[in-house]
Symmetry: C2
Subunit: 274 residues, 2 copies
């Protein structure tokens, strides 16, 4: 289902082809179902708020499904979060939820509600990026096999992790959706924002007192940064280090996440001990 913007109708065939190349056509092959809501259009959104919330609940509350893989981000998950979170049934808790960017509003709310299987990683629409099969294959290998090669390399069984787009986390601050991230390694990524806006969001995130209890911040990729006039004068990593320094949050280095096909998977919380 698509909690925010609508999905290109050409996407399902491409994604099913990647799945067939991985799993074959046999009876053991996982079944992938695209909720018809993905292709609705209501202005900016994949259907109005009610249609998107209902589609989420159709999947989440149906025990026949093992996972809900978000079709794409865009904008609008925040608009359905309250309705969705108020109507989830116990079976919804057993599923895996995978997505990033705008879908972070829902991952945040579900994490706050104690859902155990949430992950920041590719969305279905990543198939439309050049080489996007790589992202889809990663998603499938994570969802159906928990392949450790799909994981961001710093996630561990010792320290809990979480990952967000900076604009989404900034917008979560002060709302009922923000989970307690104390002790977590927080990974952040961004796309298409001015460098000054990245600086402002990093200020915001590190100024929020509850987030000063993070174990640390890792900076993912910040892509497609529009030109600033005059040039901002600092890189995104200098910005992250600056605000970590001001706030006393440890800066832990880079994270292998971003709005791109290399976007590795960050399960929320601790990895299971093996």
């Amino acid at each position: 289902m698509a909690p925010a913007s609508r999905l290109d109708p050409a996407v399902p065939d491409k994604v099913l082809a990647v799945s067939r190349s991985l799993h074959g056509d046999g009876e053991d092959a996982p079944e992938i179902v695209f909720h018809p809501q993905c292709f609705l259009a209501s202005g900016h959104f994949a259907g109005n708020d009610d249609a998107r919330a209902q589609a989420f609940l159709d999947i989440a509350n149906d025990e026949a499904f093992d996972a809900l893989w978000f079709a794409r981000g865009g904008y609008g998950s925040n608009r359905i979060a309250e309705d969705v979170l108020g109507a989830l049934k116990p079976t919804a808790r057993n599923k895996t939820y995978l997505g990033y960017s705008d879908t972070g509003f829902l991952l945040a709310g579900l994490y706050k509600a104690g859902f155990p299987h949430l992950a920041h990683g590719p969305v279905i629409a990543d198939i439309n990026r050049p080489g996007g099969e790589e992202a889809i294959e990663r998603g499938l290998r994570y969802l159906f096999a928990r392949d450790v090669k799909t994981l961001e390399p710093s996630v561990s069984a010792e320290k809990p992790s979480a990952a967000f787009n900076t604009a989404i986390l900034s917008t979560l601050i002060g709302t009922d959706l923000l989970p307690d991230l104390s002790g977590h390694v927080l990974m952040l990524e961004e796309t298409s924002e001015y460098m000054y806006a990245i600086d402002r969001m990093m200020f915001h995130i590190t100024a929020h007192a509850p987030l000063r209890n993070l174990a640390g911040i890792r900076l993912g990729r910040c892509g497609a940064i529009p030109d600033n006039d005059p040039p901002f004068g600092k890189t995104e990593e200098e910005i992250a280090k600056h605000w970590c320094g001001v706030s006393g949050i440890p800066y832990l280095g880079r994270a292998n996440i971003g709005h791109d096909i290399a976007n590795k998977i960050v399960p929320f919380g601790r990895l299971p001990k093996v």
Copy 2:
């Protein structure tokens, strides 16, 4: 002084000309001093954080000045707010502070600290807008004569008011700079943000529980909105009404503020009773 981006060096002569046309050249004419920091350059900023903070303190802590009129916004007032607020002397409290946009970070922190003479309105750099003399004249008439014709028409002695740029207020949420705005009429304006971003910020502002105690929201102008693909499908006023409805905050209509020469003045708090 310029707490964020630097000022065009051609501005002072133009502003002084407006002042002369209003007040003449006599001994009674108010003296306007441009702090040399306004013209410093450090990447994006009008000098580095230390230089900008020091310039603010040079004016605020000098009892020879009656007002601090921000040279312009841009980005960066948040970066000096903590240092500035920690070093203000009692004389700083008696001054009037006037500005908008990014300078809202400082107005917020000063309002939280109980400063009584804060106002959202033109900045010096507005002289460079077509017809900008009008904005400068409004600032001068407010600062030197408290001319009631300069005021946003809905401000009153009964209910306290406050005004912010939506992106700045969104970034204030969850930080130590956000004042208690319970019972206030909150006026919001925006420029150069996508409609989806305006929707996201209005969600954020109305989702923050302490802001649900507002007396109401008035929407100023939202200008220079970049095209959205697909079109967002709602106007900024429909957005404001939607989120006011969701949150239970009264929507009170439009406010005569914005990133333009018509930007009327909103003193923070209640007007004095006459």
